[in-house]
C-alpha cells in the first residue's frame, strides 16, 4: 500500500512550521543547488540536510525507508553512465569489452548521484512531515490557491491507497475468469494494459460519484468559503525560508572558494 501519512514527530520545531513555508524552503534550497554541476556543493548540502533532520523530528532509519526510490535512481545513474558515458577520461579501472570504467566516468556519476540526493531530499523531508489536509489548507489560506484545485486534489489523493487493493481484486477476478498470461511476455503486456484500463474505468466512476457527493454538500457552488482549520504564516515561517536560502548559498560559496564550482550555464 502507498503510504501517505506523515512519519515525523508532529511537535518537532520545524515539522510544525506552516506547510507552504516548508514547501517554499525546500524549493529555494533545491533550486539554488541546481546552479552547479560539481560534486562538492551537493555533498555539503546533503550534510546540511541530514544535520537539520532531527529538527524535523524524523529519525534517520525512517528517512532511509522513505527515500529508497532515490537509491534505486542512483543505481540507475551509475549503470547508465558506466555503459554509455561519452567522456572516458582518467585512469582506466576496468576494461571488459563494451564496459570501460575510468575515474572520469566514476566522478561524473558520483556528481550526478549526489545532485539527485541533494535536490530530492528536501522534498522527501517536507512530505514526510506534512499532513496532506494541512498542506491543502495552507495552500488555500496562505498561498491563495483555488479551493476547487486544492480540496479536489486532496479528495482524489485520499482514494489513491484504494487503487492498490483494486488492482489486486481485478487481477484475481481475471484469473477466476480464465484469463492469465502464462509465460508469454506479449500476453503479459496485454493483460497488464487491460487490467490498467479496468482500474482506470473504476477510478473514473468512483471519482464521478465523489464529485457528485461534494457537489451535494455545496462544494464550489460560488458561495465564499470559510475555513474550519486556521493556518498561520508567522515570522518563524519566514525565517525557515530565509534559513534555507542562506544554507544553500553557503554550500555554493564553499564550492566556489574550493574552486570546484561548475556552473550549469557557462
Amino acid at each position: 500500500m502507498i503510504s501517505i501519512e506523515p512519519v515525523a514527530a508532529p511537535d518537532a520545531p520545524l515539522a510544525r512550521r506552516n506547510p507552504v513555508a516548508k514547501v517554499a524552503a525546500a524549493l529555494v534550497f533545491s533550486f539554488t543547488l541546481l546552479a552547479t554541476l560539481d560534486p562538492v556543493a551537493p555533498a555539503i548540502a546533503i550534510a546540511l540536510e541530514l544535520a537539520v533532520l532531527p529538527l524535523f523530528g524524523i529519525r534517520y532509519r525512517v528517512l532511509a525507508r522513505r527515500a529508497w526510490p532515490l537509491l534505486l535512481s542512483a543505481a540507475g545513474i551509475l549503470v547508465t553512465l558506466v555503459l554509455f558515458a561519452a567522456d572516458r577520461s582518467g585512469r582506466i579501472l576496468l576494461d571488459a569489452g563494451p564496459v570501460l570504467v575510468s575515474t572520469g566516468v566514476l566522478l561524473t556519476a558520483l556528481g550526478l548521484v549526489l545532485r539527485v540526493f541533494a535536490v530530492a531530499l528536501p522534498g522527501v523531508i517536507v512530505f514526510a512531515t506534512t499532513d496532506p489536509t494541512d498542506l491543502a489548507d495552507a495552500l488555500i489560506q496562505n498561498a491563495k490557491a483555488p479551493a476547487r484545485f486544492a480540496i479536489g486534489a486532496l479528495a482524489a489523493f485520499r482514494l489513491v491507497p484504494l487503487l492498490g487493493q483494486e488492482w489486486q481484486m481485478i487481477s484475481m477476478a481475471r484469473r477466476a475468469r480464465g484469463v492469465d498470461a502464462g509465460r508469454n511476455p506479449v500476453a503479459k503486456l496485454r493483460l497488464f494494459a487491460s487490467t490498467a484500463f479496468a482500474l482506470l474505468v473504476g477510478a473514473i466512476r468512483r471519482g464521478t460519484r465523489l464529485a457528485v457527493a461534494m457537489d451535494a454538500r455545496g462544494f464550489d457552488a460560488g458561495t465564499p468559503r470559510t475555513v474550519a482549520r486556521q493556518q498561520h504564516f508567522t515570522r518563524a515561517d519566514v525565517l525557515l525560508i530565509a534559513g534555507a536560502a542562506v544554507l544553500a548559498a553557503a554550500a555554493l560559496t564553499t564550492s566556489v572558494v574550493l574552486g570546484t564550482f561548475r556552473p550549469l550555464i557557462s
Binding site: L210, R217, R225, T226
Partner: protein, 476 residues
C-alpha cells in the same frame, strides 16, 4: 419548510432514448416521512437527484416542474441534504471532524460556529469516536453515520436518503437506521429510497410507489398501499413484508468431498480454518466483518496463495492437476473447475458486451465456437439477459450486473461455485432467482459455497453453515 411539489415531472438523461422518470405528480408536506418505492428502473434515484438539485440543466431534458418550498432545487441547494449508497465515495476528508466541517465551510458558515455544529451533528448520529479519528479506520456503517452527520450539520429542511444501507452488513445497516431515527427533527422532511421495506417502515409514515412506465402507481399509508399493491410489488422485486420466499432444501444428501481446507490461514486476514466442501451441497460461510470470510472465498477459489496450511482439491475436481494446489493451476484450468463470483460484479467484467462476457470463459477453455454460442444462448435465456446481449456490462443495473457475473462463472460449467455476498443490495426478484439457480446447481451435483451476511438467504438455501470468528488478537 422542506415541502416538495412535483408537477408532471420527467427527466431524460442526455443521449438516452428512454425517460428515466416521467409524469410524476407529487406533493410532500414539510415534516412528512416518505418511503419511495418502485421496481428496478422506475427512476427513484433520478428523482432524488432532481430533488437534490444534482441534475444540471445541460445534462438532460426536463418535463414539468420540481419545486422545494417554491424554489428550483438547483437554486435552493442549501435546503436539501442527501446521503448516497456508497460510503467510500462520499467522504471527502481524511479526519472525521474535518469531513463534517467540509459542507459547513462550503456554505460559508462563520469559522467560530463550525466546530460546535460539527460536534452537535456527530452527537446526533451517535458517532462514538473523536473528531480526529481517520475516516479510513471506520466500518461501512460508521462511515454512513458520518456521511449522515455531514448532511445534518447543514440543517437541511429536506433529507434525501438513497439506499444508504444497501452496501452494509446487517449490523452496519441497523447502526445507520437507528442514527436516522434518532437524528431527525420533527419538522425535517424525509424521502427515503430503500429495497428492504420491513426495516425502513419504522422510519416512515407514507409510501409512494413509482410506476416504471411513468407516473405514480400508489400513494398512502404503508398499510393501505401494501394491502392493495403488496403482491404485485413483491412479484416485481420489492421486499414487501409478509411475502416470504419458499426455501429450497436439498433433494438428496451431499456427495463426495471436492475441496479440503487444512489449517488454512492468511495472517492477519484469516486465522486457521478447517473445512470440507462437498458436491451436491450448499455451504454457507458466515461471521462478523473482519473475520476473513472474503479471504477464505479467495483462498478456496485458488486466487490467493495460502499463508498457512493448504487447500487440496480431490482427484475428481482437479483432474490432471490433482498433485498441485488450486492457486497454482493455470487460469483456464481453474475456471473450468472452480467458479468464483466476486462481491463487486464490475471487478469481473473484461469485455465490452454482455455476449462476449459470457463467451470469454468457454473460448478461453478451448470450446468450439458452435458450443460457445449454444452455452451463451442458454445462459442469456436462463438469467433474463437475452435483450441485453449487445449492451456494455458497465451500463447494467445492479441486479443485471449480478446476474451476469454469476452467469460468467457458470459459463465454463465448473463443478464448484464460490460466491462472495451474491445477494448484497439485490431486489427480491433477483434474490429469488439466485436461490433457485444455486439450488438447481446443487441438486445437479455441483458444490456451492456462499460467503454471506444474509440470514434469509442462508435459511432458504444452505444445507450446512460454517461460522468464522474474528481472531482474538486482531483489532481492525
Amino acid at each position: 419548510m422542506g415541502g416538495v411539489l412535483l408537477r408532471g415531472f420527467g427527466w431524460r438523461h442526455a443521449g438516452r432514448r428512454a425517460w428515466a422518470v416521467r409524469g410524476v405528480d407529487l406533493r410532500v408536506e414539510a415534516g412528512e416521512r416518505v418511503l419511495l418505492l418502485g421496481p428496478s428502473g422506475a427512476g427513484k434515484s433520478t428523482l432524488l437527484s432532481a430533488l437534490a438539485g444534482l441534475l444540471p440543466e445541460d445534462s438532460g431534458e426536463q418535463e414539468g416542474t420540481v419545486e422545494i418550498d417554491g424554489l428550483d432545487p438547483r437554486k435552493g441547494r442549501e435546503r436539501v441534504g442527501i446521503v448516497f449508497q456508497d460510503p467510500e465515495t462520499q467522504l471527502v476528508m481524511a479526519r472525521c471532524g474535518d469531513d463534517v466541517a467540509f459542507g459547513l465551510e462550503n456554505r460559508g458558515v462563520p469559522s467560530d460556529e463550525i466546530w460546535p455544529r460539527v460536534d452537535e451533528a456527530l452527537h446526533r448520529v451517535g458517532f462514538p469516536y473523536s473528531r480526529d479519528r481517520h475516516t479510513a479506520a471506520l466500518s461501512g456503517g460508521e462511515q454512513q453515520r458520518l456521511a449522515l452527520a455531514g448532511a445534518l450539520a447543514l440543517r437541511p429542511a429536506l433529507l434525501l436518503l438513497d439506499e444508504p444501507t444497501a452496501n452494509l452488513d446487517p449490523a452496519g445497516a441497523d447502526l445507520v437506521r437507528r442514527a436516522v431515527a434518532g437524528a431527525l427533527d420533527a419538522d425535517t422532511t424525509l424521502i427515503l429510497v430503500e429495497h428492504r421495506v420491513a426495516e425502513a417502515l419504522p422510519l416512515v409514515d407514507r409510501v409512494v410507489v413509482l410506476e416504471p412506465g411513468g407516473g405514480v402507481r400508489a400513494d398512502g399509508t404503508p398499510e393501505a398501499v401494501f394491502a392493495a399493491h403488496g403482491a404485485a410489488l413483491a412479484a416485481e422485486g420489492v421486499w414487501v413484508p409478509g411475502h416470504p420466499i419458499a426455501p429450497r432444501p436439498a433433494t438428496a444428501g451431499p456427495g463426495e468431498v471436492l475441496l479440503t481446507a487444512d489449517r488454512l490461514g492468511l495472517p492477519p486476514r484469516l486465522g486457521s480454518t478447517d473445512l470440507a466442501v462437498r458436491a451436491g451441497e450448499a455451504l454457507a460461510v458466515r461471521g462478523p466483518n473482519g473475520a476473513g470470510k472474503s479471504t477464505l472465498a479467495l483462498l478456496l477459489g485458488g486466487l490467493l496463495r495460502p499463508g498457512n496450511g493448504r487447500v487440496t482439491a480431490s482427484a475428481e475436481l482437479a483432474g490432471a492437476d490433482h498433485r498441485t494446489p488450486p492457486h497454482r493451476w493455470r487460469a483456464p484450468a481453474l475456471a473450468r473447475r472452480i467458479g468464483s463470483v466476486f462481491q463487486d460484479p464490475e471487478h469481473q467484467f473484461v469485455t465490452s458486451t454482455v455476449f462476449d462476457e459470457l463467451a470469454l470463459g468457454p473460448r478461453r477453455t478451448g470450446q468450439p465456437e458452435a458450443a460457445v454460442k449454444e452455452t451463451v444462448a442458454g445462459l442469456l435465456d436462463r438469467l433474463r439477459l437475452a435483450r441485453l446481449a449487445a449492451a456494455n456490462p458497465y451500463t447494467l443495473s445492479g441486479g443485471e450486473a449480478r446476474r451476469l457475473s454469476v452467469a460468467t462463472a457458470l459459463a465454463t460449467a465448473p463443478r464448484l461455485l464460490i460466491c462472495d455476498e451474491p445477494t448484497f443490495g439485490q431486489d427480491r426478484r433477483t434474490w429469488r432467482e439466485l436461490v433457485d439457480l444455486f439450488a438447481d446447481l446443487r441438486d445437479a451435483g455441483h458444490g456451492v459455497v456462499t460467503v454471506t451476511h444474509d440470514a434469509d438467504f442462508v435459511a432458504a438455501l444452505a444445507d450446512r453453515t460454517v461460522t468464522l470468528h474474528r481472531a482474538p488478537d486482531e483489532h481492525r
